[in-house]
């Protein structure tokens, strides 16, 4: 038991292991949805990744734990194959997840955080997200099977048949309302809404957290300055969401669940929604303690936890560490490399258009392609910065304190 707790704590000890694990796991799921087998070209890439982790794990303990967790998940999923999408397997996963959660509640530290009244909805959200992701992918998988065999999605078999709104829809709605009312009343009677002592502007709590649905943004503050994490990126999330129907011109997969017909759209959206948005909220809620330090789920939230501050700017890394000279006085020269790096990153779309993304460029046309890849690159900037931070302690790529422009 202590070993497992230690395992989980170390694994979540840096969010990068969780980020990598969730990303790799989602790739595995997609592999599974495409009927992939481990004994294939794609499969050997997955196995290669695991071995790479295992080897680097000899030197870095979290990576070793990551490798073990990843290999276990990989072989489990490979063994289950298409059976993952059967109702029985889904139930087993649900019961196992609930059981693991129930057992964890016996741990006083875990209980303290998970049973905090305001965190209860987030615990519920984790299970709901898991459940509905599984439901959606299961239906997509079943439809894909039908379509591959030359059939039609099951929604199509029923969509031509029309029912009277009254009673069929009205009664469903009424039942939903009754069930929801009961849930709300029971929930409200069982759990009191949190109320702390009266507001006191002179004493700030540690950690001071935003409302839970913004904790993903607060977690982004670790990697980006407020003007990016708090203003620009949220704006671009909204813009990006609104742009989806205009960028995605794929006419298939409209009005039914399917994966094969829209694997790129689904891949990008699920990565953004589940990994970058929901996972960061869960991190910010359950794994960030005093001073916004990282804590494992079973770890004591020690306000005096010592975390070495060794983050370093790219300019310092290049000028001082690599070239061995002092930082130039003029910021344009000092931050030259960082600025070039950012420009090169944002200048990728035209290069990708003639390279690996040529297919998209031809299919989408220039305006859609440029807006789409720009938004995609902005989204991917977060995991890239996370990896750079956790693996290389990189603080800023561009650090121009003179005009508050830090990236």
């Amino acid at each position: 038991m202590t070993f497992i707790k230690d395992f989980v704590d170390v694994l979540s000890g840096s969010s990068i292991s969780f980020l990598l694990l969730t990303s790799l796991f989602s790739f595995l799921i997609f592999f599974n949805l495409l009927d992939g087998r481990l004994r294939s070209k794609g499969g050997s890439v997955f196995i290669g990744f695991g071995l790479l982790f295992l080897i680097s794990g000899i030197f870095i303990r979290p990576l070793l734990y990551l490798a073990i967790a990843y290999l276990v998940l990989m072989f489990l999923l490979a063994n289950l194959g298409p059976r993952v999408w059967e109702t029985r397997t889904g139930l087993i996963i649900l019961v196992a997840g609930g059981g693991a959660f129930g057992l964890s509640m016996l741990d006083p530290q875990f209980y303290l955080i998970a049973a905090k009244p305001d965190n209860v909805p987030i615990v519920a959200m984790i299970f709901l997200l898991g459940f509905f992701t599984w439901v959606a992918l299961r239906k997509a998988y079943l439809n894909d099977r039908q379509l591959l065999a030359g059939g039609i999605p099951w929604e199509k078999t029923e969509s031509d048949e029309k029912l009277f709104t009254c009673p069929d829809l009205v009664y469903t709605e009424m039942l939903c309302m009754i069930v929801l009312t009961i849930v709300m009343i029971v929930w409200s009677m069982a759990l009191r809404a949190p109320l702390e002592e009266a507001a006191n502007p002179t004493s700030s709590p540690n950690p001071a957290k935003a409302p839970w649905y913004f904790l993903g943004l607060q977690e982004m503050l670790v990697y980006f300055d407020p003007w990016l994490a708090g203003v620009l990126l949220p704006t671009l999330i909204i813009v990006g969401l609104m742009a989806i129907p205009y960028i995605d011109t794929n006419p298939r997969g409209n009005g039914y669940y399917s994966f094969r017909e829209r694997k790129w759209e689904l891949g990008i959206f699920l990565y953004g929604f589940l990994v970058l948005w929901s996972f960061l909220i869960i991190t910010g809620t359950f794994l960030r303690g005093p001073n916004w330090n990282f804590f494992g789920p079973y770890e004591y939230w020690d306000p005096n936890k010592l975390v070495p501050l060794v983050n370093i700017d790219l300019s310092e890394l290049i000028w001082v560490k690599a070239l061995g000279v002092a930082l130039p006085k003029i910021w344009l020269i000092r931050e030259m490399f960082g600025i070039l790096f950012c420009l090169a990153y944002l200048g990728l779309p035209p290069l990708l258009a003639v390279g690996p993304f040529r297919r998209f460029y031809q299919k989408m046309g220039p305006p859609r392609y440029y807006v789409g890849t720009f938004l995609f690159l902005i989204m991917m900037a977060l995991p890239i910065k996370m990896v750079l931070r956790w693996l290389f302690n990189l603080k800023y790529i561009v650090h121009i304190q003179e005009i508050f422009f830090n990236v």
Partner: protein, 261 residues
């Protein structure tokens, strides 16, 4: 049993019943159509719907759940307004009173848990709409309305978070609103803001930047409470209500609950 039937018949045939429900018990197809057409609330629906669109496994009932939770929030919020005064002298003590003294004292609980549930329900609704590709033509515009409604839901929840005026509230809002300080060109600490100058005088400072506009002061204080109260109880619900009307109307106009073409 026959007594019951008689009673039912009597009730349905009475003048009172007939004046309210024109159609009677919808036991024929004609009456089923009329029941939907003749009712303000039910006529949000089309008369007939696709069988695939009625299935809970397809829609997860999350759009309806979001709307229902909005109604729960409206009703419980209205009741809370009877007890609550948005000033720093009274806000916290009113909430304490509500908790300890008010009979039926679960309205605040229901309001708060309903708010959390609504945020989750709206996310899951968006998730379902994406997974079924229902944002594709002809529903692009309605997806956009939905995204704005999602933002308004978060803002409703955010503005409501301050109102209990406890430690949890002001520090969450302080953390959240500190972001506005960094708005490019509009916040004191935002990039480019320092360049907006009149001679030597900076035009963007702590007393007039984006954060000041949000809080009505340099720190979270009485004017913030009033601002958030008005936004929470009047401005955002009105906006959300208006957009919901458009959202539902467009669902109808764009062909009802989505289904394969």
């Amino acid at each position: 049993m026959s007594r019951l039937k008689q009673l039912q018949q009597g009730a349905v045939n009475s003048q009172i019943w007939k004046s309210v429900f024109r159609v009677g018990i919808p036991n024929t197809n004609r009456k089923r159509v009329l029941a939907v057409l003749g009712s303000l609330i039910l006529h949000l629906h089309p008369v007939k719907v696709r069988r695939s669109g009625v299935r809970m496994s397809y829609t997860w009932c999350m759009g309806g759940t979001s709307f229902f939770l909005f109604l729960v929030e409206t009703v419980t919020g209205l009741l809370l307004m009877f007890y609550y005064r948005p000033t720093i002298e009274y806000a916290f003590t009113d909430i304490m009173d509500l908790r300890e003294q008010a009979p039926f004292g679960i309205m605040r609980e229901m309001h708060r848990w309903g708010a959390h549930a609504m945020v989750i329900a709206v996310w899951l609704h968006m998730f379902r709409v994406f997974m079924t590709g229902s944002y594709k033509p002809p529903r692009e515009f309605n997806w956009n309305v939905g995204v704005i409604l999602l933002v308004l839901t978060l803002l409703l929840s955010f503005t409501g978070y301050l109102l209990p005026w406890d430690q949890l509230a002001i520090w969450a809002i302080t953390v959240g609103s500190n972001m506005a300080r960094a708005s490019p060109g509009a916040g004191t600490e935002g990039p480019m803001s320092g360049l907006i100058k009149l001679g030597d005088i900076r035009l963007i400072h702590a007393g007039d930047d984006a954060r000041f506009a949000l809080l009505g002061a340099k720190t979270v204080g009485p004017s913030t409470l009033l601002r958030f109260y008005v936004l929470h109880c009047v401005a955002i619900p009105l906006g959300a209500g208006f957009l919901m009307a458009i959202h539902f109307w467009r669902v109808r106009k764009d062909g009802g609950i989505s289904g394969p073409l």
